[in-house]
C-alpha cells in the first residue's frame, strides 16, 4: 500500500473509519471542521504543508457527504501558489468542491490564464485539466483563443495538446461561438493527421461535438475519418500501448464512427465504398471470445458499427445482416449483449423496413419482458411497443396486460401507458379496445389517467353497437368486491347511460344496477359521488314504467346528499330531487348524451409532444425525426382521419338535423367570431354558470378540447338551476344546451360552416377569445388568441393618436406552420399598416409582427385581424378583433374644479353634451367604477362633485393632430346600482356620442338593452335624484 505521505490526513481517515456509527463519525468530522476553521482563521501561522493537508481533509469530508461551506477561498488561493505541489492541490480540490457556477471560480480566471500561456508545462496541464472539468461560460470567453493556440502548436508536447483539445471541447460546449466555424474546419483536418493516438482520441472527441452542431462545416473531415478507421481496423501502424486486449484502440474506433454518424449522408462513392467495406469486416469479423474485456471492447465497436450502418442506409443485404446479428444477440445469455441487442433492434426498427424480420423474434422478446433485470425489461417493452402494428397488436397488448399483474412498481406506469396507446392505435375492433382498457383499469387503475377512461366513454357513446357490450362488461367489473375508483367512474358512467339496454338480462334490472352503484358511494371520492348521482338519476329515468320502490330508494340517496358539504354533490342531489318529482317530464332532460365530436386522442398527443421535445441533438434522434417526417403514418400522428391501419375511427360528427330552437340559438350566438358573441340571454348564462368559459355563445370550434369538460361538465349542466321554475319553457331552455359540445358542435357545426366558411377546421381556441379581447381593452399586453397550434400574444404602446401593436405569433406545435397569412382590416377611422408575416413558422418559433395605428376620428369600431395558417394540410383561419378601442387614444386630463365647471357650462347641450340613463349596469361599487375609468384612461377628478355617489372625470381624445377634451359625469343611485345617468360633453359631437356609447358598453353587463329582467321592470324613466346631486345638476 502506498503511503499517503501526510500523517495528519491518514490519522484523520483512520479515525473516521474507526467510528462505530454515523453519529460518532459526525462528531469526529465536526471536530475536524472546527479545527480547520480556526486554523484558517489565523492564516499567518499556516505552513504550506498544513494548508495542503487541511484542504485535502476538506475534500475528504466533502466526499463523505458533509457540507463544507468554508475554506473555499483558501483552496482557490492555492492555485496562485508558485510551487507545483500546492498548485496541484489547489487545482484538484477546487475542481471537485466547486461547480462551474461558483463565484470563486471567477476570481482565478487570470491566474489560470497565466498558467495556460506560461512556459511551465506541468502548470499548463493542471490549468487545462481544471478548466476542462469545471470551466464555465466566462472561462470560455476569456481562455478559448489561448487553448486553441496550444492545441495547434507545434512546440507543445502531446501531453499538453490532448488536454487542450478536451479543454476546448468543454469551452465549446459552454459557448459554441468560441470556435470560428470557417477557419477551424481546416485546422481540424490537419489535426486528424496527428500521429499520437492519445491526441487523436481527444481531437476526435472534440470533432464529435463540432460535427453534431454544424455537420456541413466539417465535410472535409470525412475522408480523413474513414482513413483513420481503416487504419485502425486493419491494425496498421498502431503502437502496442494503444491496443486494448489486442484490439487497436477500441475507443478511437467508436469515436470515429460516431463522428461519421453526424454527417447527413456520405455521397462520394469511393469513400462510401471503403467505409462500407470496413463496416462489413467489423460485422462479420467480431466473434465471441472468453475474455470479458476483449469481448466488451470488440462488441462496443460492433454496436457502433451497427449504428453507422443504420445511419448510412446501407443496402438490404447489409441491413438484414444486422438484423440477423441482433437476433442472435437478443437470445444470448450474456445480459449486456442482450440488453444492447434489444436496444439496437428498437433503433433499427425506426430507420429501416425490417419489421417483418423482427417479428420473427417476437416470442424471444416477450421472454425478455420477464427477465429479472429491469433494464432488460424496459428495453424489451420499448421494442414491443415499437414493433407493434395491426397484425400483432392483440398478442402484444395481451402479453403486456398479463405482465402488468406481476410487474414491479418501477415499470407499471410506463407499461400501462404503452398498453393504452397500443390498444387505441391498433385495435382490430372497438369492443376489444374497451375490454383492454377495462382490464387495464382493473390491473393498474392507479396508472390509468382520466384521459384514458374519457376516451372509452367517447367511443362507447359514439358507437351504438358497442353500448350493450360495454354496459355488460362494466357491470361485471363493478360487481367484484374491491374495485378501483377509476373503474367505478367509467362503469358508473356507462351503466348510467346504457344499463337499460341490458334490462332483459337476468340480474340486470334497474333495481339491481342501482344497488350495485349504491354500494359504491361510501368508498369513493366526492367527484365520483357526483358522477354516481347522475348515473342513479339516469337509471331511474330509464326505468319505464316507473318502479315506485326504485324511485323511493333513489330519492333516499338524493336526500342523503342534499346537504353534502361539497357544493357540486349537493347541487346535483337537490336538482335531481326536484326533477324526480316532475314525473315523466324529466325524461327529456335526462336524455342520452349526444355523440362527441371526433378529436385527436389526448393520450397520443401527449406521447407525440414528449417525443417532439427532444432537445438533445444526437445522430439517432435526428435520424428518427427524418424518418417520421418521411413516413408520417407510422409515427404517432393519429389525427390523420384515415390511418393506414384503419383501426379506430368510427367516431364521427353526427349530422343530425338540429331542432329549430338550437339553430336559432346558434344563429344568434354563432355569428361573430369573437367578442361580439355574448350569451344570448342572461338566464342561459346562469344555467351554464358551472362552466362559464363554455357559454354556448362561443364559436363552434371553441368548446375546449378538454375532455373533462365534456364528460363532467354536461352532468352538471343537465341539471336545472337551483331555483326550479315550474314553467315548461324554462325546462326547454335548459334542455337546449344539453352539453356545451352539443350546443356548440352538433347543431352549430353545419351552421358555422355556412356562416364562417373561413373556419372549417376543428382547431379550437384554448380559452375564451372574447374574454381575452376584453382584457386587452383594459391593458396593453396579453394573449389575443391561443389554440393547440398557435399562440398570438400582443403588446401595444399608445401615444396620442398614434399607436404601435406588436403581435407575437408563436408556433406551439412540433411541426412547422405553413402558409401563414395575416391581414389587418382597419375600420374607416383608423389608418393601419402591418408588417408581413413569414409564410412558414418553424416549430417552437415565434415571430413578431408590428402593426402601426393612427386614429383619425372617434369610433367604437375596432380593427380586425384575419389570420390563417396550415397545420399539415388542414387550413385554419380565425378572425380576431384587435384592441384598437376608443380608449387607447384617450389620455387622462388633469382638470381643476374651476376649469371643469367652466367647460361644462360652455358646452351647453346636445349634440355637444349628451345625457342618457343607462340601465342594466353591472353593479359595482363606486371605487370600482372609478378604477375602471382609470383603466380606460379617463381621469377621475375626486372631490369635484359634492355628491359622493357621482363620478366626474376628464380625458383628452387624440385624433389626427387634434386633441379634444372630454368631460364625463356619472350619477349613480346607491339603492339601485344597475342604473346610472351618464353625461358626456366635448366640443366634437361625434366624439361625445362615441365616447358615451363606449362607456356604456364598458359598464354594462350585457350589451343588449332590455335583456335584464330587472332592468325591464324598472323602465320608468326618471331616476329620483337625491338631494345634493340634484342641486349640482341644477347648478351646472
Amino acid at each position: 500500500m502506498a503511503l499517503s505521505g501526510m500523517r495528519g490526513l491518514s490519522v484523520f481517515i483512520s479515525d473516521v473509519r474507526n467510528c462505530q456509527n454515523k453519529e460518532q463519525e459526525r462528531v469526529r468530522v465536526d471536530k475536524e471542521l472546527a479545527n480547520i476553521r480556526t486554523r484558517f482563521k489565523n492564516e499567518r501561522g499556516l505552513s504550506v504543508y498544513e494548508k495542503k493537508k487541511y484542504v485535502w481533509k476538506m475534500l475528504y469530508i466533502y466526499m463523505l457527504g458533509y457540507d463544507v461551506d468554508f475554506g473555499h477561498m483558501e483552496t482557490v488561493q492555492l492555485i496562485s501558489a508558485p510551487k507545483y505541489a500546492e498548485k496541484q492541490v489547489g487545482y484538484i480540490v477546487t475542481s471537485c468542491l466547486l461547480n462551474e457556477n461558483h463565484d470563486f471560480l471567477r476570481l482565478v480566471i487570470n491566474t489560470v490564464r497565466n498558467d495556460i500561456i506560461g512556459r511551465n508545462e506541468t502548470f499548463q496541464c493542471l490549468a487545462l485539466t481544471m478548466v476542462g472539468n469545471v470551466g464555465g461560460r466566462e472561462f470560455s470567453e476569456s481562455l478559448a483563443p489561448d487553448v486553441q493556440k496550444l492545441l495547434i502548436s507545434n512546440s507543445c508536447r502531446p501531453l499538453v495538446r490532448k488536454k487542450a483539445a478536451l479543454c476546448l471541447l468543454r469551452l465549446y460546449r459552454k459557448n459554441p461561438d468560441v470556435v470560428n466555424v470557417d477557419g477551424w474546419s481546416e485546422r481540424m483536418v490537419q489535426l486528424l493527421d496527428e500521429r499520437d493516438l492519445g491526441v487523436l482520441t481527444a481531437v476526435m472527441s472534440l470533432l464529435v461535438a463540432l460535427v453534431a452542431n454544424t455537420p456541413h462545416a466539417y465535410w472535409n473531415c470525412v475522408p480523413k475519418c474513414v482513413r483513420t478507421l481503416e487504419r485502425l481496423t486493419r491494425g496498421q501502424d498502431i503502437p502496442q500501448e494503444y491496443t486494448y486486449y489486442g484490439i487497436p484502440s477500441p475507443w478511437l474506433q467508436v469515436k470515429t464512427m460516431r463522428v461519421l454518424q453526424y454527417f447527413p449522408k456520405i455521397d462520394d462513392p469511393t469513400i462510401r465504398k471503403s467505409l462500407l467495406d470496413v463496416l462489413q469486416r467489423i460485422l462479420l469479423g467480431t466473434d465471441v471470445v472468453k475474455n470479458v474485456n476483449k469481448n466488451n471492447a470488440s462488441h462496443a465497436v460492433l454496436f457502433e458499427a451497427l449504428a453507422l450502418v443504420m445511419h448510412l442506409d446501407a443496402d438490404k443485404e447489409m441491413m438484414s445482416q444486422c438484423v440477423v446479428l441482433l437476433g442472435k444477440f437478443i437470445s444470448v445469455r450474456e445480459p449486456n449483449i442482450r440488453y444492447l441487442g434489444l436496444e439496437n433492434m428498437t433503433r433499427i426498427l425506426l430507420v429501416a423496413d425490417v419489421a417483418d424480420s423482427i417479428k420473427k423474434h417476437q416470442s424471444q422478446i416477450i421472454t425478455s419482458l420477464k427477465d429479472p433485470d429491469i433494464s432488460i425489461r424496459r428495453r424489451s417493452l420499448d421494442l414491443l411497443y415499437g414493433m407493434c402494428d395491426v397484425s400483432n397488436a392483440k398478442d402484444i397488448v395481451e402479453e403486456l396486460l398479463q405482465y402488468l399483474t406481476t410487474a414491479d412498481f418501477g415499470i407499471r406506469e410506463e407499461l400501462a401507458l404503452k398498453a393504452a396507446i397500443l390498444s387505441e392505435k391498433f385495435a382490430p375492433d372497438l369492443s376489444w379496445y374497451v375490454d383492454v382498457i377495462l382490464q387495464l383499469i382493473e390491473k393498474a387503475g392507479d396508472f390509468v389517467s382520466d384521459d384514458i377512461w374519457y376516451r372509452v366513454v367517447q367511443f362507447v357513446t359514439n358507437n351504438d353497437d358497442l353500448q350493450v357490450h360495454a354496459a355488460a362488461k362494466a357491470l361485471d367489473y363493478l360487481d367484484k368486491p374491491a374495485v378501483h375508483e377509476t373503474m367505478v367512474k367509467v362503469s358508473g358512467y356507462i351503466l348510467g347511460e346504457y344499463s337499460h339496454l341490458l334490462a332483459r338480462r337476468p340480474g340486470c334490472s334497474p333495481r339491481d344496477i342501482f344497488h350495485i352503484l349504491n354500494d359504491k358511494f361510501p368508498a369513493v371520492t366526492t367527484p365520483t359521488k357526483a358522477l354516481l348521482l347522475s348515473a342513479c338519476v339516469k337509471i331511474m329515468m330509464h326505468c319505464q314504467p316507473p318502479d315506485p320502490e326504485l324511485v323511493d330508494q333513489v330519492v333516499a340517496v338524493f336526500r342523503r346528499y342534499e346537504s353534502s358539504v361539497d357544493a357540486e354533490v349537493q347541487q346535483r342531489a337537490v336538482e335531481f330531487l326536484a326533477l324526480a318529482r316532475k314525473g315523466t317530464a324529466f325524461v327529456d332532460i335526462m336524455a342520452e348524451m349526444p355523440k362527441f365530436p371526433e378529436r385527436q386522442s389526448p393520450l397520443l398527443k401527449k406521447a407525440e409532444d414528449t417525443d417532439g421535445d427532444a432537445s438533445e441533438v444526437s445522430a439517432t434522434k435526428i435520424r428518427q425525426q427524418q424518418m417520421q417526417q418521411e413516413q408520417n403514418s407510422t409515427a404517432l400522428v393519429v389525427a390523420d382521419p384515415q390511418p393506414a391501419n384503419g383501426g379506430l375511427h368510427p367516431v364521427s360528427v353526427p349530422k343530425t338535423a338540429a331542432p329549430a330552437r338550437h339553430s336559432e340559438q346558434a344563429v344568434t350566438s354563432e355569428t361573430p367570431q369573437d367578442s361580439k358573441s355574448f350569451p344570448p340571454s342572461q338566464s342561459q348564462a346562469h344555467s351554464n354558470g358551472g362552466t362559464p368559459q363554455q357559454a354556448p355563445g362561443h364559436t363552434p370550434g371553441s368548446a375546449s378540447a378538454d375532455l373533462l369538460s365534456d364528460l363532467v361538465g354536461p352532468l352538471s349542466l343537465e341539471a336545472p338551476p337551483p331555483v326550479a321554475s315550474t314553467s315548461s319553457s324554462d325546462l326547454l331552455a335548459l334542455e337546449a344546451p344539453p352539453t356545451p359540445t352539443a350546443a356548440a358542435a352538433t347543431p352549430a357545426d353545419s351552421l358555422a360552416l355556412a356562416l364562417l366558411d373561413s373556419a372549417p377546421t376543428q382547431v379550437q381556441p384554448l380559452g375564451n377569445v372574447s374574454e381575452w379581447f376584453k382584457e386587452l381593452t383594459l391593458k396593453d399586453s396579453g394573449v389575443l388568441y391561443e389554440d393547440p397550434y398557435v399562440q398570438i400574444g400582443l403588446k401595444a404602446e399608445w401615444r396620442n393618436a398614434q399607436g404601435r401593436i406588436v403581435l407575437f405569433v408563436g408556433n406551439k406545435h412540433t411541426g412547422p406552420l405553413t402558409n401563414v397569412k395575416s391581414s389587418v382590416l382597419p375600420p374607416p377611422h383608423l389608418r393601419m399598416q402591418s408588417a408581413v408575416v413569414p409564410e412558414n413558422i418553424p416549430p417552437r418559433a415565434q415571430v413578431q409582427v408590428p402593426v402601426d395605428v393612427a386614429c383619425l376620428s372617434a369610433s367604437r369600431e375596432t380593427a380586425v385581424l384575419e389570420f390563417s395558417f396550415n397545420v399539415g394540410h388542414a387550413p385554419v383561419s380565425v378572425q380576431l378583433k384587435l384592441p384598437t378601442s376608443l380608449n387607447k387614444f384617450l389620455q387622462v386630463a388633469p382638470v381643476s374644479a374651476n376649469e371643469f365647471v367652466a367647460r361644462w357650462r360652455a358646452l351647453g347641450g346636445p349634440p355637444s353634451k349628451l345625457q342618457e340613463v343607462v340601465r342594466g349596469v353591472r353593479p359595482m361599487p363606486l371605487a370600482e367604477m372609478a378604477n375602471l375609468f382609470i383603466r380606460l384612461h379617463i381621469g377621475v377628478a375626486n372631490g369635484l362633485d359634492p355628491n359622493v355617489n357621482n363620478v366626474v372625470a376628464a380625458t383628452t381624445f387624440y385624433s389626427g393632430t387634434a386633441a379634444t377634451l372630454c368631460l364625463v359625469r356619472v350619477e349613480t343611485d346607491p339603492s339601485d346600482r344597475t342604473q346610472m345617468r351618464l353625461t358626456v360633453a366635448s366640443e366634437d359631437p361625434n366624439t361625445t356620442y362615441e365616447l358615451k356609447e363606449f362607456i356604456k358598453e364598458q359598464v354594462m353587463d350585457i350589451p343588449f338593452p332590455g335583456q335584464s329582467p330587472q332592468a325591464a321592470t324598472v323602465t320608468p324613466a326618471t331616476i329620483p335624484l337625491t338631494g345634493p346631486a340634484a342641486a349640482l345638476a341644477g347648478l351646472i
Partner: protein, 161 residues
C-alpha cells in the same frame, strides 16, 4: 459524455466523486443516495447498465467497490464499461494490486489519476503506459517539493516567520 463518476463501496460509502456536469451540492447528495440504493440492490447476474432519469448509468463491481459512470442514453455503453476497466487497470498498476484501502487512504491520488484518464467527461488517454509516466512524473515533482520544504533553510524560514 460522462456526466459524473462515482466510486461506492458495498456498504454505500462514497470513495470518489467527480462531476463533469454542473450539479449543485444538494443534487449531488441526492444523486449519490438514489444511485447507491439502486445499484447496490442489483443482483450479480444482471447487465451493467441502469436507466436513470433519462440518462444511463454504466457500473461495474470490482471486489468491494462499485465503479459507476453516468452517460447519455445514446452513448456507447460497452465503451464506457471498458473506460471503467481501463481506469481500474491504471489504478491497479499504480498501487500494485489495488484494494479499497488504497483508495481510501490515497483518495487524493485517485483524483489525480482520474484527471489523467478523463477530462470534460471524455476519455483523455487510452495508453496505460502514457498515464503511468505522467503520474510518476507528478510524484517526483511532489517528492521534490517535500524534500525542499524539509530542508534546513526552509525550517529556518518557517521558524522566523
Amino acid at each position: 459524455m460522462i456526466h459524473f463518476v462515482l466510486l461506492i463501496s458495498r456498504q454505500g460509502k462514497v470513495r470518489l466523486t467527480k462531476w463533469y456536469s454542473p450539479y449543485t451540492q444538494k443534487e449531488r447528495t441526492k444523486v449519490i443516495r438514489e444511485l447507491s440504493g439502486m445499484i447496490l440492490s442489483r443482483g450479480p447476474k444482471l447487465c451493467n447498465f441502469l436507466e436513470w432519469r433519462g440518462l444511463k448509468v454504466v457500473y461495474k463491481r470490482y471486489a468491494s467497490l462499485y465503479f459507476c459512470m453516468c452517460v447519455d442514453t445514446d452513448d456507447n455503453e460497452l465503451e464506457t464499461l471498458e473506460i471503467i476497466h481501463h481506469f481500474v487497470e491504471i489504478l491497479d498498476r499504480y498501487f500494485g494490486n489495488v484494494c479499497e484501502l488504497d483508495l481510501i487512504f490515497n483518495f487524493h491520488k485517485a483524483y489525480y489519476i482520474l484527471d489523467e484518464v478523463l477530462i470534460a467527461g471524455e476519455l483523455q488517454e487510452t495508453s496505460k503506459k502514457s498515464v503511468a509516466r505522467v503520474i510518476a512524473a507528478q510524484d517526483t515533482l511532489i517528492e521534490h517539493a517535500k524534500e525542499q520544504s524539509s530542508s534546513l533553510s526552509n525550517i529556518i524560514a518557517q521558524a522566523t516567520k
